[in-house]
Symmetry: D2
Subunit: 337 residues, 4 copies
C-alpha cells in the first residue's frame, strides 16, 4: 500500500471493482446490466460468504467502470476477522478456485510463478504482502538445483517482498522488473493491502484480479504499470482493504447522521443538507476540513495484528493449493511465521 | 490502555488534567483562576516544548476538576514524533525533573521503585508500557544478591509488564497487587498509553501525575484503584495519548467544517447548527450515529511503530535519570530493545 | 530457563527423568527394574513417537533417581521439528492425554487452571513458555464477568508470563506466588525451555511431570520451589530441551571420536583413553578446558525461530484440549500469535 | 550468511583476511613479511580497539592469501558486545573512516550508493544485514523526486535486503543484479553475518573489504561473484562473524584441553597426540566425528538478540557518516528499528 496520486474523476476512490459496479447500479432497475460488464454472484455457507465475479468485457465496459478489461473476483466474508478455522478453510478453498481460474495455460510443464508481497513490513496494516511472501511454499530453487526431490507437476514457485520506496529509495516497480527479468515467470501473483472505501469492508473482502498492478504509481504512468503488456507475463493481484482513510470514516459517519435524523419527526435543516449532499460530496467537504495532520492518520481495528495472521495464512494457503497441483486443504500450513 | 466504563458527566472524556482545565477556563477572563487549582506554565526551546503543572489543592479543586488532589505535569512537544535526537534529549531532561519532583522522600537509603508497564504488547499503539518496562535499568536483583557490584545510592529498580485482562484472564490490578506485596516498593511508576481527547495530542503529550492508576477499571471501583491509600506506596502515572477513538475524530472534524463554513459569505443552515452545537454535543451526536463496528476502530498515525520506539526510549531514559542518582543525559540508552 | 546453581552429584545434569533412568539401567540386565520406580513405554505411529512414563513410587525411588516422588511422562518425537501437521496433531493428542492424566480431581465444577509461561521472550530458544502463555484459550475473565457466554464445564483458564529475574529484578517464584494468591487456581501448569543433556534431544522431547518447578533456583532452596506443598495446588511442569550447553556438545563429540577410532585397525592411545573415560568424565574435562567466554555460548539449530512456532502451537493446543472438555483436535488453533 | 560449498585447500576456512595472515606468519620471524602483502596495525583507546589493514598488492599476494587483490580492514573490539555507548561511538568513527577510504572517487557529484543487507531476517544471528539495510538513511527517492529538499552533496543512498534463496527460491546474486541494473550505483556496500573461525571473534570483529561478494556461492562460480568486473561498480563488503560452527567449537576446545594437560606434571598420551595434531587436524577429525544432526547446529551467545541491535546500529551509523558528507557523530541514530 504505497500512496497513489489521487485519481480525479467521478468514480468512487476505490481499488475494488465491486464498489464501482454497486455505484453504477444505484437508482437503476433491478435487472439493469452495466454495458460491457458481466456480473455473476453466488452466496455460500448460508450467506456467510459471497463471491462476485465482475468481468469487464470490452472498451465500453472499461469506460463505464474506469478499469481495464479483465476479471475481478471478490470474496466477501466478514467472519474471516474472527478465529474461525472451519470458515477460514472454506475461504481458502474459494480463493484457490478463484486464483486457479485466472492462472495462465501451461499445458503439461510446471508453472513458473513469482509471488510479490507488496507493502511495508514495519507498519502492521501493511504487512499482508510481506507475510504472504514468507508463507507460500517456495520450490523454484529445489526444482532448479535438486529436481529429483520434487514431483514433476509441482509449480516452480519463487517469492519476494520488495518493501516500499520510503525504505529502499527505489521505485517498487523497478525492483519487481529487475527480479522478474531474472526469474522469467509465467505468471506474477502480487499481494497488497488496500485502502477501503467503506468502513464495513475492512479486513473482510478479498479481490482477485488479472489486470496487473501499479505499485506506488498514479494512473497513467505507463512505466510503473506492471501487466501482461509491460512485463510479458500475466499479473494477478490479490488485495484486501485493511485500513480506511480518516476522510472516509468521517463522511460515512455524516451519512449515518443524516439517516438517523431522517427517522426523527421534525426535519432539521441539517438533515436536509446532509440528505441532499451525495456521499461523495460529503467526502470532499470532509477532506477539505481535515487538517494535514489528520489526513496522515488512518483508521484500523484494535485487533489488527491478530487479523493480519489470519489473512496472511488464508491467502498463502489459497495460493499454495492453486499453484501446486498436489496440495489440498489437508496440507494447509498451520503455522504463520 | 484497557477499556474503561465510560465516565458519565459533563467533563470532557479525558485522562489529561490539562484538557479539563482548558475547558474550565474557556470563556473566562484571561486571569481567571479555577478555585482550588494552581496552574503554572513554562515555554522552553523557543516554544518547541511547553511544561504545565496543574496542582489540585483541595476538595474544591477536586470538584472543579473531577480528579483527585495532587500534581499533574504535562509536557507538550509535537516534535517528539520525529527522529530528532537533540529535542528528545531535552524532553528526557524535563521528564526526569518532573518525575524527580514527585518521587517520595527517602533520606539517605536507596529508593525501591517498581516500574509497571501497562498495556498489550501485541497491539502496536498499546505497547508503550511494556516497552518502557523492558528498557529501564533494572537493579533490584543485583542490589539483593550482589550488593558489592552497585553504588550505594543506586535505586533498587524492578520492572514488570502485567499484560491485559483479555490475554491473561486476570484483572491487571490483582497482578500488580500480588507483585507489589512481594516487592514492597517505596514507589510505583506506571506507564500507559492513553486515548486522546484531541487528534492533535496523539503522541505529542506526556502527563506525569502522582494520584494513582485504575487499570481497566471504571471510576469508583475502589478495589481496582491503585494509589497511596489502597496499595501503601506512592503511585506515579506516566501517560501518553497514542490513539483517538473514531467518535473524537469525527466530532473534531465537524467542528472544523463549521469553522470553514463560517469563513464563507452565505451562512448555510448547517453552519448555524454546527456553530450552536458545542463540541461535546457533536461528540454525542456522532457517538450515536457510529455503528458498533466503527466504534471498535481506532485512529492512529501511519508511523506508529516508529513513534513507539521514540516514546519508549524517552520515557525509560527519563525514569533512569530520575531514579538512579548517578545516571545523566550522557548515559542515555541508545538502543531500544 | 533461568540459570540454576549446578547440582553437584553423580547423577547426570538433566531435567529429564528418562535420562536418569537410562543411566541407571546401563550395564544392567535387560529386565532390571530400578527399585521404587515403575517404567512403562509405548511406541506409536510405527515408532515415530515414543511415550514413556517414569513413576517414582517411594523414598527409595526418590533416592535412586534424585527426583521427588511423582509422575514423569516423556513424549519423544524427532519429527516434530519439521513442518508436519498430521504428526503434530498426533503429538497434540498424546500430550493432551498426558496432561489429563495428571490434572487434579474436580468433580463437576469447572477446573481453575493458571498457565505460567516461564522464560525470556527476547531470547529465541527461551521463548517457548511466553509463547504458550499467549496461545492458550484464556477464559477466566469471561467466566467471572460474563458467565452466560461460556459453557458450564469450560475450565477457568488464566495465563501469565512472569519474564526472568534479569529483566524484572524480581525473583520469578515471588511473582508467581503473588499472582497465584489472587487467582487461587486448582492447578498450575508451567511451561519452560530446558537445557538438554544430549544433542539429539533438542526440540524433540516433551516432559510432563506433576512434581512442581523451581524457577531460577538451586535445589534445596525451599522458598523458591513451587509445588503442591509450598503453593497449595498441584503444579504440572511441561518442559522441552531447546539448547545444549557447549560442554555437552564437546563431550558428546569426544565420545563419538572414541567410537570412530574403535572401528579403525590400529588402536591409538587416544582411543584407549577416550574409551576408558566415561562420558561424564569427558564432561568434567571439557568443562574445565572451556574458557569462561565459551561457557556463555549455547548450541541451537539454525531453524530455532521456526521450531519455536511448532512447539508452542503443539503445547498450547495440547493444554486447550486437556483442560477444556468441549475442545477437540478439530478446534486446534491454526495461528500462532 | 548462506551456505557456501566448502573451499577445499590448506587455508583455514575463514572469511577474514586477518586470520589467514595470522596463520601465514605463525612460526616465522617477528619481522617476516608475507610476499605481496602489506600489513599495518594500530591500537586505539588504550588497546580496546585494534585496526589492521591487510593490503594484497599483486598476484603473489593473492596466491599467498588465497584471496583477491585489494584492501581488507579489520576492526577488533571485544567491548562492542556490551552496552557501551561511548566505545560504540569510537567504533562508528573508525568504521566510517575505513569505509571512506574504500569509496570510489566521485569528484563533485553526489555518490550513488546501493546498500545490500544480506541474510535471513528470521534467524537472529543472520539478521545483521537486513537490520542495517533498514537503518541507513535512505535518500535516493528524495533526490530523484524532490531534489530541492536535500543538500547537493548528500549521497543518493538506496537500500535493499534480498533475503536468502531458501525463502525466495531465487539466487541472491540474481536479485542483486536485477536491482543494480535499475539503480545503477557508483558503489555497492553489502553487509553480511559471517561464520567465525574462532570462538573469540564472535560479534567482536568487523571486516571491511573492497573485493566483492559471492552470496551463497562457492568460489569459482563466476556468475555469482559480484565485484567491480562482473557488476560494473565497486563492491564493498562489511562482515561480522556472529556464529561459529560446532566443529570449530569442538576443535578449539580440544586445543585448550591439550594446553591444560601440558601444564600438568605427567604427560599423558592424550596430551602428546593432541599436541602433535595441528589445530586444523583436530578440525577434520572433529568434522568426521560429528553426526549430520550436530553439523546443522550452531553456537551463539545467549545475548545474541541484544548484540544484533548494537552491531546493526554501529554499522548503519558508520555507513551514514561515511557516505553523507553532512552527517557526523552528533547525528547518529539512537533508535534501531
Amino acid at each position: 500500500m504505497e500512496k497513489n496520486n489521487e485519481k480525479e474523476n467521478f468514480f468512487p476512490r476505490t481499488d475494488l471493482a465491486i464498489e464501482i459496479s454497486d455505484v453504477l447500479k444505484l437508482d437503476q432497475a433491478e435487472d439493469y446490466q452495466i454495458p460491457g460488464v458481466e456480473i455473476t454472484e453466488k452466496s455460500i455457507e448460508e450467506g456467510e460468504v459471497k463471491v462476485t465475479r465482475v468481468r469487464i468485457l470490452d472498451e465500453e465496459g472499461e469506460n463505464q467502470m474506469g478499469k481495464p478489461k479483465g476479471d475481478y473476483i471478490t470474496i466477501e466474508c466478514p467472519g474471516i476477522k474472527q478465529n474461525n478455522p472451519s470458515l477460514h478453510e472454506k475461504v481458502i478453498d474459494l480463493l484457490a478456485q478463484s486464483i486457479t481460474s485466472l492462472l495462465p495455460e501451461h499445458e503439461n510443464r510446471p508453472l513458473n510463478v513469482l509471488i510479490i508481497g507488496l507493502g511495508n513490513r514495519f507498519a502492521t496494516p501493511d504487512t499482508l504482502g510481506p507475510k504472504v511472501a514468507n508463507q507460500v511454499f517456495v520450490t523454484r530453487h529445489v526444482a532448479l538445483k535438486a529436481p529429483e526431490l520434487i514431483e514433476d507437476d509441482v509449480a516452480h514457485l519463487s517469492s519476494f517482498a520488495p518493501s516500499v520506496m520510503g525504505l529502499t529509495g527505489i521505485e517498487t516497480a523497478e525492483i519487481i522488473r529487475g527480479v522478474a527479468e531474472n526469474v522469467k515467470p509465467d505468471c506474477i501473483i502480487a499481494i497488497d493491502a488496500l485502502a477501503a472505501r467503506s468502513v464495513s469492508r475492512i479486513n473482510s473482502t478479498i479481490q482477485i484480479s488479472d489486470t496487473g498492478i501499479s505499485p506506488g504509481a498514479g494512473v497513467g504512468n505507463k512505466r510503473k504499470e506492471l501487466n501482461e503488456t509491460t512485463i510479458g507475463c500475466k499479473v494477478i493481484a490479490i488485495g484486501v482493504p485493511t485500513v480506511v482513510d480518516t476522510a472516509t470514516l468521517v463522511s460515512d459517519t455524516l451519512s449515518e447522521i443524516a439517516k438517523l435524523m431522517a427517522k426523527e419527526a421534525d426535519h432539521s435543516p441539517l438533515f436536509d443538507i446532509l440528505k441532499e449532499a451525495s456521499h461523495d460530496d460529503h467526502y470532499h467537504l470532509v477532506k477539505e476540513a481535515l487538517g494535514d495532520e489528520i489526513k496522515e492518520l488512518f483508521v484500523t481495528p484494535k485487533e489488527i495484528d491478530e487479523i493480519m495472521e489470519y489473512l496472511s495464512s488464508i491467502i498463502s494457503n489459497g495460493i499454495n493449493i492453486a499453484v501446486h497441483p498436489c496440495m489440498t486443504l489437508k496440507d494447509i500450513n498451520k503455522y504463520t511465521y
